[in-house]
Each structure stands twice: as C-alpha cells, then as structure tokens.
C-alpha cells in the first residue's frame, strides 16, 4: 500500500470509530496530513543549516445541527484520532448553530494527470540538495564583483500526502511534491548595501534553474545601487511581475466570499460591475498541471476547477467553499483552504493568475515617458488592505525617463485605492511568472498610470 492509500484507510477508519464516539446527529470530517521535507541554507560557502521536517497530524471537524467544533492532534496514532474526535465533538456543543455549516457531498474526482508529484524529490540525496544551495550562493557571488555577499541561499523541498473523508461519503487522497530555491544577494558600494532576490519553483529538484535565479537576484541588487528618494508626484508605475503578484494577494483576500459575506472586502456588492480596465482578466484554476496549488480536490474534498473571477474588467464571482456557497446560494468553487491540519477549512485561492496579454517588460517600459519601475514593495501585509482597498507601500525601483531605466530609487511610497489601480491599468505583459506565496499567484509585468508616489525630495 502506498503512503496515500494508507493515509486514506486511516482517515476512513477514524471516521467509522468517530461515528460511534460522536453519537447520532453529528456529522464528521477527518483530515490527515503527512509531510516530509528538507530545508538547506547556505551561507559564506558553508552549510548554514539543514532541517529535516516530518510533520504529521489529524484535524477533525464536527457539526452538530450546524454547530461547529474543531480539534487537531499532532500525530497519526490511534490516540491522536480519538482525541481529535472527542475534542471536536465537545467543542461543537458550545458554538452557535449556523444552517450553512455543511459538509460537502461526494463528487467524482477528475482522473487526469495533474503533474504535481515526481519521485525525484524523494530519490535525490540530501548531499545533492546541499550542493544546490551552495551552488546557488556561488552563482550569485560570481555574477559581479560588486556582489559583496549573499544573505542567504536556500533549497527546500517537501513531499506531502493529504487525505480527507467525511460522513456524507467524501473520501480522497493525493500526494504532491514541491521544490523551491531562493537567494538574497547583497550588492555593496562604500557604505551602501542593496538586496536583490529571486526564486524558482517546481515539482522536482531538476526543475529549478539555479543560474537564472542567481542572475536575476544579483542583477536586481546591482540595479538598486546608488538609489535615492525623489520628490512626491503622480506618475506611471511599471510593476515587475513579482510585485504585480503581490498585489494579487490583496485581490485574493478581497475575492474570498468569506470576506465578502462578512463585510470585509472592498469588492463586496460589485458582482457584474466593471471594476478594472478591460485588460484585466483574473482566473483561479486549481487544475493547471504542475502548478504549486494544483490538486484533485480542495481542503474539504470538493473537486478543484477553473473559474474566471474578473473577465475583461467585469467582476464575475468570488471564491467559495461549501459554507460560503451555501450562504450565497451558489455552488462551491473548490476553494476551501487550510494551511495545515491545525486549522479548519476557510477560503483561499488556488492558482490565481492574471491572464497574460502583450509585450515583454522592456516593451512596456519603452512606452513610458515618465514613471517608476517597481522592483520591490515593502509592507504589503500592512499596507495593502483588502478590507478598505487602500494601498500604501514602500517601494524600491528605478526611474523611467523616455522609455529608459534611469536613477535607482529607495525610500519612496506608492499610495492609492486598489480599484483605481485596477481601473488605471494601462498594460499587461506576456511574461507570466508564478509566485508560490499565499497559495500560488501568477502575474506578468503590469503598468498602472496616475499613482501617487511620495518621497523626501
């Protein structure tokens, strides 16, 4: 029996045992996870740290006439399953009834190849992985003599198995592998130091292009040397694909039906409205082969699927799990999401992609008379508010004059409303890049006009 079938057998066994413990009238869901991973960090030509992780555990959701209880235990022994069921059932006694607290009904899962697992991650020895982290650091340093050092160079991988079963008859499991690497080189000149970064992701170690990652990261650090602030102005921003993806994280939060239903989204009540430039088409798709958030089903067992959230500027829908879908009177979009067995499913994007259009980054920059290329934003968690839709972020980048990159910039802020950013989007490039943050976000280079940029002159 492979690890997947074993875990699935385990959750089904606990579900059966749980029925007896919980008594009649209680619906149960058992979610179990087993994850093995390795994280290697290199620093100064040495192995800085090597961390083997082996995380396993079970989470149980109990619903008693719409009253929700949840409990988890960090282990996969019989005792862990029993404890989680007992606690979840006890907790359910103390919650308010909510008729929309439902478990999903069973649905056939698509049989197609998702390309989310490759045995290479498990078959590659830790020595080779250590070499990859060391090599990444070396490549970043070799790029230019002005790269003074590398703050950190990391290789990480994980193989996870997830299984879920509920008393409505849902039962499924899948296995996935993830590999990633990233590097933060520091370019120095005199007292000045600037950090760059880049990363790559894949399902197996050989997917990672270390040379490209090192080159991009070092070039970013170098391009920021000599940076200074500018005086405040309204101008055109060209957002690097990575920065554009960070803005998608804010949209993902605002598009969650949970946030919408609870009045915590600036996109609430705007279905069918034109909220963005016609250049903007935003898709969430958990079925795209090989992407970081691709899976046969979401974190409560509903099949993953593709949905257009914004089509040519018009808001088409929100992200739903079974609970929010019931409240809104629609079908779940397969966006139940939980970071681990420690949490009950909430709502989250799978692979959220801004559909690419035309032009490479240089083409877009070439059309800007006066503007700023934004390479890094700081403060995205605090300064991009999905509730109010207000954006106020620190930024690093380069001045654009007559279509050419000029003065590097630091200590500037960009501010405005997300809806204005969406409406004032004047270009969407073709260079789609996947960022494995908050699920997985993908965006090409984007240009936005008339944005307030502040600086110290």
């Amino acid at each position: 029996m492979d690890s997947g079938s074993r875990l699935q057998a385990l959750v089904e066994e606990w579900l059966q045992a749980g029925r007896g413990l919980a008594g009649p009238g209680v619906e149960l869901e058992v979610f179990a996870e087993e994850k093995r991973g390795l994280t290697v960090k290199a620093y100064g030509g040495e192995l800085e740290s090597l961390r083997y992780s082996r995380s396993r555990g079970v989470g149980v959701r109990a619903l008693r006439e719409g009253r929700l209880g949840y409990a988890y235990s960090s282990g996969l022994e019989r005792e862990d399953g029993r404890r989680a069921v007992e606690e979840a059932v006890a907790n359910s006694r103390f919650s308010e009834p909510d008729e929309h607290n439902l478990l999903p009904e069973p649905t056939e899962y698509p049989a197609g190849e998702l390309g989310i697992y490759h045995p290479e991650a498990e078959e590659t020895g830790s020595e080779s992985k250590v070499e990859m982290a060391l090599r990444l650091e070396e490549l970043a340093l070799e790029r230019d003599e002005r790269i003074a050092r590398v703050e950190t160079a990391v290789f990480a991988d994980a193989v996870s198995t997830v299984a879920v079963a509920n008393t409505r008859g849902v039962s499924g499991c899948y296995r996935s592998s993830h590999c990633s690497c990233y590097v933060f080189p520091i370019a120095g000149k005199g007292e000045e130091a600037q950090t760059g970064f880049s990363f790559d992701v894949g399902v197996k170690p050989s997917d990672l292009d270390l040379a490209r990652v090192a080159e991009e990261a070092s070039d970013m650090a170098l391009s920021l040397l000599g940076s200074r602030s500018i005086s405040s102005r309204r101008t055109t921003l060209v957002l690097d694909s990575f920065v554009a993806a960070e803005f998608l994280a804010m949209l993902a939060a605002a598009l969650s039906a949970e946030a919408v239903l609870k009045g915590r989204s600036f996109l609430a009540g705007r279905l069918g409205e034109t909220i963005a430039s016609p250049l903007v088409t935003l898709v969430d798709d958990g079925t795209l082969p090989g992407l970081p958030s691709t899976s046969p089903f979401d974190d409560e067992g509903v099949p993953a699927r593709r949905k257009e959230l914004i089509r040519e500027g018009v808001l088409q829908g929100y992200l739903h799990n079974t609970y929010t879908a019931s409240r809104a009177g629609v079908a779940s979009t397969g966006n139940a999401s939980r970071p681990s067995f420690r949490e009950r499913p909430r709502v989250g994007a799978s692979n959220l992609l801004l559909e690419p259009r035309q032009g490479k980054r240089d083409d877009i920059i070439g059309q800007v008379e006066d503007g700023v290329l934004v390479l890094q934003v700081v403060g995205a968690h605090a300064g991009a508010n999905p509730v109010s839709g207000e954006i106020s972020l620190g930024a690093l980048g380069l001045r654009i004059e007559k279509g050419e990159l000029r003065q590097p910039l630091r200590e500037i802020t960009l501010a405005g409303k997300a809806l204005d950013f969406l409406r004032d989007t004047v270009a969407v490039g073709e260079d789609l890049r996947i960022v494995p943050f908050e699920g997985s976000l993908g965006a090409p280079t984007v240009a936005v006009e008339n944005v307030m940029v502040a600086g110290r002159g």
Binding site: E46, R56, S73, T152, S392, E411, T413, G455
Partner: protein, 473 residues
Amino acid sequence: MEVMLLMIDEETARNVLVTALSRGGDFAEIFAERRLVYNLRLEEGRVEENTSGYELGAGVRVMRGESVAYAYTNDLDPAALEETARVAAASSREGTTKAVSLEKPLLALPRREEEHPVLLDVGAYARDGKIDLLRRADQAAREAGPHIIQVVVMLGDARQEVFIANSLGEMVEDTRVRVRLVVQAVAAKDGEIQTGHESPGMLGGYELFHESTPEDAGRTAALQALTMLEARPAPSGPMAVVIANGTGGVLFHEACGHSLEADAVYKKASVFEGKLGRKVASPLVNAYDDATLINRWGSFSYDDEGVRASRTPLIEEGELRGFINDRKRSLRDGTAPTGNGRRQSYRFVPIPRMTNTYIEVGKSSREDVIADTALGFYARKLGGGEVNPVTGDFIFAVTEGYMIRNGKIAEPVKGATLIGNGPRVLMDIDAVADDLDFDTGMCGKEGQAVPVCTGQPTLRVREMVIGGTSEVV
C-alpha cells in the same frame, strides 16, 4: 521536595545527546514540548470557530561550527528519539569525532514558574466562560456606534510545557501559560470602510481580564474604526511625527530591534554591525529587551534553549550597548548568553528573537511633546510594517493618525504610512515622554511566529516621510 515527572527521563536524554554527537559536533540539544491550545473566534455575533489542539514533539539539534542540523519527531519514545538524533547526526558532514563527555548525569536547573504567577489557569476556566468573554467584547464594540458593521473577536489560550537538555549537561523544564484577546472592529459609512484593533494578552492565565476587561478592548477597537471613518486622506511628504506610547513601539521593534539580533549582525545584514559603543541614537534614547518583566506577553523564565531570561541593555544614552543572541551566536562570538534563543515550536530551530523590547521613559510629558509641535503628524496607532535590515529603510501603516496643528491634535487622517530609515529616526528623536506602555504582537522571522511585546513612551521624530494620497498638508 516535589517529585517532577520529566517529559523525557534523564537517562534517555543523555543517550540521545550522545547519539546526536556520535559523528562529531560542538553542541547537541533536545527540545521537547507538549502544548494544549484553545482558540475561539466570534464573528457576526456568532462563535464560528471553536478549536482545540494538542501538540507533542521533540527536536534534536547538532551544532558544528556555523552549521546546524535539525530533525524532529512527534514520538517521544526512547527509540524514536534515538532515531531522530541519528538523522540529525548523519547530516554532520564527515570530520573528526570529538569526544563528548556526558558520563555524569544531566543537572536539572530549578523550575522558575513562580516568577510569572498564573492565577486562573486555562484548564480552570470553562468553555462557556471563555465564550462569554468574546460576547462582552463584541457587544461593547457594537454599542460604540451605529456605523460599526462587523466585529471579529478572537481568544486564544495555550499551555506549553517544555523540556530542554543539552550537551553542556543541563536540563530545564518550564511551563508557559498564555492568554490573548484580539478584537477587530469594522466601521462603514458612505462606501468608506475603516478598521480598528486592540489585543490585550499576557504570560499568565485568565486573570488577564481582571485588569483589562473585554469591554475595554471592544470599545477601543470600535472607536478607532469610527474615528478613522471621519478622517480625510493623509498628506504626503516630510514632517515632524509624534508617535504615541504603547503600539508605537512596533516601529523600534521592526526598524531597529531586528538589526540588534546577533544573527543579523553576524551576517552583516544589520545597520548596527561594528557599531558597539558608538553613538547610534539621540542621547534621549535608552532601549532594552527584557524577558523578565512579570507576566508580560513576551516574557518567560527560560528561553527555548534553557537559558535564563534577562534584561539586555540595547541602547543607553544614545550609545549602542549590546545585541541579543541565542546559544549559537553566544558560543560562536564568545559573548555572554542573553536568553533570546526562541522558536515557534519543536518543529523549528531556535534563533535570536526579541521578547519585550522597549524604549525607556524620558523626562517630558506627552502634553508638552505635542504642545511643542507646531505642524506635524500624530501616529496614535501603527499597524504592521516592513524593514530592509541591510539598509534600515522601513515602512509602517498608520491605522490611527491625526494632524498636529499649533501644538494641538487636529483632524484625523487615513491611509497614511510612515517611511524612513531606522538609524536616522533614532538620531532624529528629539523628545521622549514619561508614559511608557506596551502592546502585544506576534513577531515573524524566518517563518516562525513568537509572542512579543513592543513598548515605548510618546516620542517625537524631527522628520519622517508621510506616504499619503493627498497633495494638501
């Protein structure tokens, strides 16, 4: 004498440490924990999350020069621990095996739980009693005004027992009980949405609510959201900034504190590297990291490496006095341990972390500081922020801000951020008041969250850039 049942017995611990060092190494350690957590979340007036958690696990660490290998398990049986130690040992790259003397039994250091008394332990408080606390906060927030459209209240408690044994021959056991309430209020009017936050918490039990009631927290969060609803867009550009006591300490934490962590200094990813004893701040500035403050959210008796908690001077009279370290940096740099080795759980390697970090009181009064400011910005409450540790450049969201005009707090302004540079702001502090206060937070670093307090009195920075949307000051 009370007989304590150790989470891992002495002999097992010693055997595991010997295995961990079987292929060489300078230091080995076991960290085991058992943690019970309970989390409640109330939204739309309903308890919608009611979660219990149980965690049990142990991690084994082997240090060899600058290299660290770490492995963990959910199984505390001697055989599983031995196996985990073998995995950690195996990743030591080839080298000479150093003799490790662990013939003597490990010495158990005294338990110190009495330093942070727990009056109402988490298990002593019934589930419905806890739910009632959420309701009280919710109701107080909703009663603050008709424009409050949503209130989220979260209550979390945790009881963490830890066991630490290391190749220095020490063994430590400690229990940390923590309780924290978080209230988020959302206000809306004419299509405008604003939020407010308040989050009391402590290292201790449910006696937390004897001093600071759930009603206080609810009301404070709601009033903040309501105030910001009436705010005009913040101006943009440089001006004098007065930062309020309590929550404002997050700026020092982020913009300077992280650069005072010895791992950042070692990696030269710190603006303070090489500046010990030098003037790094205005002479008005004294700053400390202090895990011994009784019952504070970021306090403890022993850190997660079994080092005693301490009060570490960071800056005194504007001079840089010291850094905060973990065992690795203490051993490698030959500096005294400061007791700042912390980890989120047994799944993580400990690293230097802040505890309760604050700027000490000055001699001015809050009133004088504001009265002395002709035109400026008053940051009453800061949200999150981000810092580039290499340059010290930072950005902070102001969640409650006002203009200061003619020495008085004037109209509220929204959507402001503070942007600046940590070292420069320290130099530019030109007034420090006497009203030190603290706020609770969860600090993230390298993917690990730990409880911390930030603190400061009201203080003024001569000039910072306000990033707003309005061109009008």
